[in-house]
């Protein structure tokens, strides 16, 4: 199972969400990803629940948990090296690894790498072809560089929050941290571009990717209509902006997505809903539906609340309409389309046991081994093997560093 990026060496100094999602895509494509973790605490996301062992809350105690849902998913196919970067010996080992790496990804607060004596200029000296991808909340420059932020604040400052939620209620964030995850995705694309450039020219570089800027980059018309005509976009709840019969509606067993459009397909919507009133000429155009939005909804609801989400979804799709439904986690795990395409993979983890994971976000043809599917590592599980394979350290050298407290080797379970 080699993977498309077999042989690419990645030094992964990321933690929590955005950075790890970037390096998860690299490790998933077969790159050799060494996740550097603090010997005791590990990646902070290890401490966030829920946990397979049944603890449902943030963990306490002295040993970093191995079985949190977020850690397990975001760190598949990586190797964990437990290394104390604060110690001078730890820094020396890190510099040796950096000399061998093609890519280094980090998401410390700006200045964090400098304080560890690992600034880009330092790393560039020992490895001019190194690609260093720095992911941060607001970027490595600018007045907000040192601001603290959670997903909530990034979503707000990135402009996405203003347009999510009901107009009369407070602005809302997404349930998933999509600013951080999306920034991780873009960091993966940026890293790949820089890697290709480095391989062609021998010239490495630093990438400065700000999570808040990812949000500003995907505002699309929510920003453009202000830029073009000075008209602000606003919150419209579950209705599409400037649309009617276009959004999330309740149904018998959950919620469905109705998408009315284009106009010439509207008679199909009316037919599915079984209400002649919907064929009223007043509703035939998008503008007409918008003007009479409440009336249109009132005619659709009786059908919707008497039918199941999957049935409504399919009734629309079989008529060529892009209906959808709000899937629960159970729905996702049982979805016939995903099962037919063998999307999920089952991974067995020594602490968390067997769980079903979403597989490749994008799948090249079957004849090519594009992705590797392996569980997340235990803290320090690969310390000895990685230092052997990257730096040819002897067991004695590793033992010495373990004695000094610079490294720890995970015991396995």
């Amino acid at each position: 199972m080699p993977g498309l990026l077999e042989g690419v060496k990645v030094l992964d100094l990321t933690h929590y969400i955005a950075g790890p999602y970037c390096t998860k895509l690299l490790s998933g494509l077969g790159a050799d990803v060494l996740k550097i973790e603090h010997p005791k605490r590990g990646d902070g996301v290890r401490w966030l629940g829920p946990f397979a062992s049944g603890k449902t809350d943030s963990a306490s105690g002295t040993n970093a948990p191995e079985d949190g849902a977020w850690f397990l998913y975001l760190n598949t196919a990586k190797q964990s090296v437990a290394l104390d970067l604060q110690s001078s010996e730890g820094r020396r080992v890190l510099l040796e690894l950096a000399a061998k790496a093609d890519i280094l990804v980090e998401n410390f607060a700006p200045g964090g790498m400098d304080r560890l004596g690992l600034s880009y200029s330092e790393l560039h000296k020992i490895n001019p072809a190194l690609v260093m991808t720095s992911i941060s909340n607001f970027g490595q420059t600018g007045p907000y560089r040192d601001w603290k932020a959670a997903e909530l604040n990034l979503y707000a400052l990135g402009g996405l929050m203003n347009i999510t939620g009901e107009p009369e209620q407070e602005p809302l964030k997404e349930g998933m941290p999509l600013a951080q995850l999306g920034a991780g995705q873009n960091a993966f694309a940026a890293t790949m571009a820089a890697l290709m450039y480095a391989e062609e020219t021998g010239e490495g570089q630093q990438i400065d990717l700000a999570i808040a800027e990812y949000a500003t980059n995907i505002l699309e018309n929510a920003l453009m209509q202000y830029s073009y005509s000075g008209q602000e976009y606003s919150r419209v709840g579950n209705r599409g902006y400037g649309r009617a019969a276009w959004g999330i509606y309740p149904c018998l067993d959950g919620h469905v997505g109705i998408i009315a459009g284009p106009d010439h397909r509207w008679p199909e919507v009316a037919r599915i809903m079984g209400r002649e009133e919907l064929s009223d000429p007043r509703f035939l155009s998008r503008a007409g539906r918008l003007e009479n939005a409440d009336e249109v909804d009132a005619y659709m609801l009786p059908f919707l609340v008497e039918n199941n989400k999957v049935d409504i979804f399919k009734a629309g799709q079989e008529s060529g309409l892009g209906f959808s439904f709000v899937a629960t986690m159970k729905d996702i795990l049982e979805m016939e389309q995903l099962l037919d395409r063998a999307y999920f993979v089952e991974l067995d983890h020594p602490v968390a046991g067997k769980l079903i994971y979403p597989g490749a976000p994008i799948m090249p043809e079957e004849s090519i081994d594009a992705w590797v599917f392996q569980r997340a590592p235990l803290l320090g599980e690969h310390t000895t093997s990685a230092l052997d394979s990257w730096l040819s350290y002897s067991e004695a050298q590793v033992s010495e560093l373990i004695t000094q407290g610079v490294l720890t080797q995970g015991q396995g379970v």
Partner: protein, 427 residues
């Protein structure tokens, strides 16, 4: 055509881009940002629907000052923010001469990308096998809503639907209320960004092996990939995730709070105990930091409504930026809910050049989101505005395919290429 940029990462790659709307165009936007040569191909009968209707009503805000003008399809901000630094051509694949030209374009392209409804290109006779006859090492990216196999392969999907079918919408919403869509269509950029990275890995693989490949993108699978932690959590707890509004399962308080002014809000997140203490002191509310009702995470969760009320009273008389300053100075994560005008005027984004001013021939100077990251060795820049319909027909067909002026005129006269739409069914 423009001289290729000197030092941009993807300058050696040419992408024949048949994609439309957002998911595919976001992928090729990132490629264009990195210096690739993107040939965006549209049909005069069915152009990219992000260009808007052929005869839109006046007053739609996506047009400059709400004025569609004589060629509305060239003046739509939805389209014009996604195609900068791309070449724009038109071609009718339903006509034999158009097909011959298309096949020649394929033969000189490294990548063909499309996000039609599944099977559309195949119905025109262009399977991956067929395309490879014209370019043996071609990489073909096909990104229909649900992928190219399976019982739902022919189904239609939009980014807004993918938020629902991936479970994102299930998790989003006010506490105790129904699921909520986002203000955009997250499924599109999520798919486009994943595709951009994987496509670069495929190009790199081709550089090493000489082999192209077929990349089957299911927009749904790409979106579900971001739901992984919750898919695992459900298996661990047996519980569906609850809609939390702006709260977090990991810390408290967190919310958006009203500020002075109409529809003005500030977000505050006390992500650990120290930050909660800092927040409590920064508000200056006597006794808040020591109030036993808020002393522990469990207590703050239990009394979150009351805490929201207290914080909301404190914020409601002040400016969102001012509160942010106070709290950031105290080390508390906070930030204003920025609206369109705020974004374009914001000091940080100005300092970083987040938005760029571009001069479009039919729109004039307007601001757009720029390249979403900075690179030290290959900084790059937006090189030209989004193309008008068929703007680069002559350059591409002459300079890349070697067609003569007379041959190009003929294509024009027979309606195979052109700059004026012929379709009426464009939404």
């Amino acid at each position: 055509m423009e001289t290729p940029p000197k030092n941009m990462p993807l300058k050696n790659y040419r992408v024949l881009d048949l994609s439309r709307i957002w998911a595919g165009p976001y992928c090729t936007k990132l490629f264009a940002d990195m210096g690739a040569e993107i040939i965006k191909m549209e049909s005069l009968s069915v152009y990219d629907s992000h260009r808007g209707p052929v005869t839109p009503a006046r007053g739609i805000a996506a047009y400059p000052d709400g004025e569609p003008g004589e060629e509305p399809w060239n003046r739509n901000g939805w389209f014009n923010c996604l195609h900068m630094s791309k070449y724009g051509i038109t071609l009718e694949l339903t006509k034999d001469e158009g097909r011959r030209v298309f096949e020649r374009l394929v033969s000189i392209s490294d990548v063909v990308i499309e996000n039609f409804r599944q099977g559309s290109l195949e119905r025109l006779g262009y399977t991956y096998q067929e395309l490879r006859k014209h370019r043996p090492d071609l990489i073909y990216v096909s990104m229909p809503a649900f992928g190219n196999t399976g019982p739902w392969k022919g189904y239609l999907g939009y980014g807004i639907g993918q938020e629902q079918l991936s479970g994102m919408a299930h998790m989003t919403g006010y506490r105790g209320e129904g699921p909520m869509k986002s203000g955009i269509n997250h499924g599109d950029p999520i798919t486009g960004s994943h595709a951009a990275g994987v496509l670069m890995a495929a190009l790199r693989h081709r550089r090493k092996t000489g082999k192209g490949m077929f990349i089957d993108v299911s927009q749904q699978e790409s979106s579900v990939a971001l739901m992984g932690p919750e898919v695992l959590a459900y298996q661990m707890t047996g519980q569906e995730p609850e809609r939390q509004g702006n709260r977090s399962g990991w810390y408290a308080p967190a919310n958006s709070y009203p500020c002075a002014g109409e529809d003005r809000w500030v977000t505050i997140a006390a992500t650990n105990e120290e930050r909660w203490q800092n927040l409590a002191y920064a508000t200056g509310i006597a006794g808040l930091a020591d109030d036993p009702k808020f002393a522990t995470l469990e207590k703050r969760r239990e009394n979150h409504d009351e805490l929201d009320r207290i914080i909301g009273e404190w914020t409601s008389s002040q400016e969102a930026y001012a509160i942010t300053e106070i709290l950031q100075n105290a080390g508390v994560p906070a930030g204003p809910v920025l609206r369109g005008p705020d974004l374009l005027a914001d000091a940080h984004y100005k300092d970083r050049g987040t938005f760029v001013t571009v001069d479009h021939p039919q729109v004039g100077l307007k601001q757009y989101p720029g390249i979403p990251w900075r690179m030290s060795a290959t900084p790059g820049q937006v090189r030209w505005p989004s193309p008008t319909l068929g703007q680069h027909n002559r350059e591409v067909y002459n300079e890349l395919l070697g067609l003569t002026g007379i041959e190009i005129d003929q294509l024009d006269e027979t309606g195979i290429i052109g700059t004026k739409p012929t379709g009426s069914r464009i939404i």
